[in-house]
Symmetry: C2
Subunit: 429 residues, 2 copies
């Protein structure tokens, strides 16, 4: 193959895709098995041109793609792979560094530490925390809870009933008992009911998956301090909002956390996957993972980031984060976060002002929870109808045993017109 020629074709494909992504049906309009059935059941015996791969991507795979880059993707948490981030992934794949030791890629290891420090500054986190990158918040939380277990010698984890399922998964892997605390009327962990005597860790959430509610971190931090429990803060989605000072009300108490996860691939315009894990107790985190006994450590040894998490091999993930932070700058990140919040506020207002519709939870950040004042079935049908139309894609949750629609804004291409189209489609359905 000719890397330059095929590369130009791939780049052109990517550019055209991004130019047209708003025109595709957001949710893939296919049945299970349909895409696979159109592809050969066996691999080719001899090599094919890269152009054939591009052609099949276009003709066969594209209809089976749910367009996370669409400006009308409002499901789960809406994300963006920004252009600098995409190009940095090309560069990272070209270098193909495997940074399991410092020496196997000094630049990757040091840029990872630096970009985590940069991001900490942008978000207003305490100085001196140790940061590194994991693939997903599931892994970051797994790592934090492993450190909590190792450090406290205890086997219980506490979180709110609204915490993310990754806490369940991590607790199960680690063999920890998980206690779920009921939420209050605004879907926040009830801190007054915490009894942490035998507890290894509490996972507090800033920006829950269902409603983006914010747990009372200061009170939880008090309880953790008193009981000697590890405080892990899951701000996978909402943590990026802290780049805006006016949204830092939600950061109160986080400075007392033992560990914190923020997913740059959620609301910091970085392609999947790039989960940022900070810890104020890096030695404890390392002790849970490092296979080098402490008595063999020397102080002049360079940090190997694979000592802080489950995986050994590590991609050059910091390159894309670095590209985004540099090309957007603090201003650019703030402007994008603020625009998403503004659009969510706008949508919330429309719902509030429309008879027959209701807002179902306090709006935080860029997520609106709402429903039609009607049966669960009817609300479910609305979601199915708009998703099937391809006009937009949104998801739902259950709150107080009711079916609730969620509109999550976060793609950097989303404009007021997209939100307006979404609202029109919802009212029609």
């Amino acid at each position: 193959m000719s890397f330059r020629e095929d590369g130009a074709a791939a780049l052109d494909w990517a550019a055209r895709y991004l130019e047209r992504v708003g025109d595709y049906p957001v949710l893939a309009q296919v049945e299970p098995g349909e895409i696979r059935a159109r592809l050969p059941a066996s691999p080719p015996e001899t090599g094919e041109p890269f152009a054939d791969v591009l052609r099949d991507l276009d003709e066969i795979l594209l209809p089976g793609i749910t367009h996370w880059q669409s400006p009308r993707f409002f499901a789960y948490f809406s994300v963006s792979a920004s252009e600098p981030g995409i190009l940095a992934e090309l560069l990272a794949a070209t270098l193909n560094s495997v940074a399991f030791l410092w020496r196997t890629s000094p630049a990757s290891t040091e840029l990872e530490s630096l970009t985590l420090d940069w991001t900490a500054q942008l978000l207003g986190l305490p100085q001196g925390w140790h940061g590194h990158i994991e693939d997903t918040a599931s892994t970051s939380t797994l790592a934090a809870l492993a450190a909590a277990r190792e450090t406290t010698g205890r086997n219980v984890v506490v979180c709110s009933e609204h915490a993310h399922s990754s806490v369940d998964k991590a607790a199960r892997l680690l063999g920890l008992e998980l206690r779920k605390v009921a939420g209050d009327g605004e879907y926040r962990l009830r801190a007054e009911e915490l009894d942490l005597a035998d507890v290894a860790a509490v996972v507090a959430t800033v920006g829950t998956t269902s409603t983006a509610s914010v747990d009372p971190v200061p009170a939880i931090a008090d309880a953790c301090a008193e009981a000697g429990a590890w405080l892990h803060v899951d701000a996978a989605y909402a943590g990026s909002a802290w780049v805006c000072p006016e949204l830092r009300w939600s950061q109160r108490g986080v400075e007392r956390a033992d560990s914190l996860v923020v997913n740059a691939h959620k609301w910091l315009f970085t392609p999947m996957d790039c989960s940022l894990l900070w810890s104020s107790r890096p030695d404890d985190l390392r002790r849970a993972f490092s296979l080098v006994p402490e008595y063999l450590r020397t102080s002049d040894e360079a940090d190997s980031l694979s000592d802080y998490g489950p995986a050994l091999g590590r991609r050059f993930r910091s390159l894309k984060l670095w590209a985004v932070l540099r090309c957007y700058g603090r201003d650019g990140l703030q402007a994008r976060i603020r625009e998403a919040v503004r659009l969510a506020e706008l949508f919330e207002g429309w719902v509030r002002d429309e008879p027959g519709w209701e807002v179902c939870a306090p709006r935080h950040f860029s997520l609106v929870c709402f429903r039609r004042e009607a049966s669960d079935d009817e609300n479910e049908q609305i979601v199915e109808r708009v998703n099937r139309s391809g006009e937009l894609f949104l998801s739902h949750t259950r709150l107080d045993d009711r079916y609730v629609l969620r509109l999550a804004i976060g793609n950097e291409r989303t404009g007021e017109e997209d939100v307006r189209r979404a609202w029109a489609a919802l009212r029609q359905a």
Copy 2:
């Protein structure tokens, strides 16, 4: 930014890098902290052009990069990010699919299953195994051992003393007791000593990290079957060799495995990260991870691959594997694997024929273990000297309490001339 313009510059950077990668010192010639010190301590307030990122990549980061793509990278296991794989990563980042449920990216989920089936066919694995992609072998092994624990209700893992450290890490995370069995004279697990009465799983290795030795999988499979223990085969490196029928002697018994990991990012020309995990017992694997109770499952439900491992969010990793399999075909993969083995054989012969040097372990696949007939110190100095020269990069191991050099061939750019240069540099040092 202009995606097309900046993209063309990034692509040109990548093309030039690949054209010149053989000219760079293989191991980064920097001191810890040196790269970081050259970068600003704080992020920019306002956005900068992407061209500045490319410039700093060139001027500041490049000297801190250890060139895994160099044809004279012979350390650890030598890997390649092939050109189709690199371009596919650009496309995957552009699409930014997050395939945690089937519907969130049907094409990603179905292509992942298909490419794992394709690879199974290429490697001659049994039909019908369930395959999916994890980031690294550490995670694949973690997932397999979690399934073993869940399925057997037991808490002991057995592996050879030559098994990879990822087994230690996974056992620690899962709270399993790890029993290491001594190796025989050729660094293979001694199967006759296995007592598996209370054992959840045995990890057998095909292609150990130190010497690429092959554990006696048929005998281990017998012992596992008798004791009801899970058999996990770690063929992270050597599994790719099975694309060549003449190397399938090392696959004997693997057809009886409960799970198998092969890293496509090791010797299957796929960029980091792409670890392939198959299981002949997918329901047991899913039971260890899925948070959906079995009684809520419906048979018409499409498979969600996040149910088979620790992470929820999933990149579109199959796209790069698909691009490689298509552009290389069976023939192309075989030719590359055979050339690496041929070069290793050649190098082994040179060592064997040279007075004062010795081959230290049976050569398997494309890894040669050797040393100068001299003190450990002298051998260590040879490694340090050649690595510092930048001419090549190789790593070492300890065998029978002796310092042993390892030359691992696997980069697709490596030619006879590169191996010849390496041998000349080693003899000079």
